[in-house]
Assembly symmetry: C2
């Protein structure tokens, strides 16, 4: 394994290639379904070489998840108490939908983990995620108190946004099997926009 000095040019390149390959493989087959050989092949490395950069399959997975969690939660971080409530909410929802479109692998990586009980990120859920959600939920509650948006169960409102937007990435095959040639996101954007406009209008 490389020493803990500053990473060399080669280290940077190979670690990045491995994480990129791992994202492909883990998101498509889940943790158990992915093989180290497969990831190595996709990264253009031999298996022992890959294991020179990461201690184990589990280590790759962990680094991927924790590295992407921030990206994944960024849109919610951006929800701004001082902005216009309805516009803030719609912007958040649009950003989430856009992420489903542009980062479907990341969405499925988390989906795979969650459906199987999140054995590897349970802590992040009940700590980091819960804290962030709680924080933003107080903003929502304030907006509701002020009559700026309709009064709803704020947690379930959050769940509905996640469910609706990530559905297009996680269950992409199903969506496409039913829509045929139609581009899912073309119809999805105006649909969710209308939905939340109606729902949130007091």
């Amino acid at each position: 394994m490389p020493k803990d000095r500053a990473p060399t040019r080669i280290q940077k390149k190979n670690r990045a290639a491995i994480l990129e390959a791992a994202l492909n493989v883990f998101s498509a087959h889940g943790f158990r379904g992915a093989t180290v050989d497969q990831i190595a092949a996709e990264a253009g490395l031999s298996k022992p070489n890959l294991l020179y950069y990461f201690a184990s399959k589990e280590a790759i997975h962990t680094e991927l998840l924790s590295g992407l969690l921030e990206t994944w939660l960024a849109p919610l971080h951006d929800l701004d108490e001082t902005g216009d409530p309805m516009e803030e909410m719609l912007a958040y929802i649009r950003r989430k939908l856009q992420m489903s479109q542009e980062l479907p692998r990341e969405s499925r990586l988390f989906a795979n983990e969650l459906v199987q009980g999140a054995p590897r990120i349970h802590d992040a859920l009940s700590n980091d995620l819960k804290q962030l959600v709680d924080e933003k939920v107080t903003i929502l509650t304030n907006w509701m108190d002020q009559g700026k948006i309709a009064r709803l169960h704020p947690y379930h409102l959050m769940f509905s946004i996640w469910a609706l937007t990530q559905h297009y990435a996680d269950f992409d095959v199903q969506v496409r099997a039913i829509l045929g040639d139609e581009n899912p996101f073309e119809g999805a954007e105006p649909f969710v926009d209308t939905l939340y406009r109606k729902l949130l209008t007091p």
Copy 2:
């Protein structure tokens, strides 16, 4: 393997026990993550004995999926053109939510399969499911034409119902990590009810 005569008492019992065990294991770990040994142990059988009743791991999985697909789609089948549009829709949604609560394993079984690209049920999606959805979508479109419910993209309306209701089964860990002790379904039912009432009101 048992001959194709009428199944004996023991055959009935064991095949049922295997399918029940397989539902537990496949829904919790996905196809690749599940092992035949695990299923056998959970069914109270030895591995060779289990393989006396089913030809292979794949055969168990296939029989499970095809056997449960009907159950899974039943609520949509029940959507009745001649009923009151708003009540029919709300009844469908409630039934779907109830299934998330009462049959979470079934939901996760399909979720696992779908997130990973549905390699084993792709045909059922683009045939059986698509046909059923198309049929029901024409009903929705009629209702919209008659001004009975709001005009929306009917396919995305379907997707939203699936996403919202199944979210509670598929991502149960996440929901519970955030809600803490609160029973998810207690808040979910009035929430989705309100949501679709608002959304579908013309």
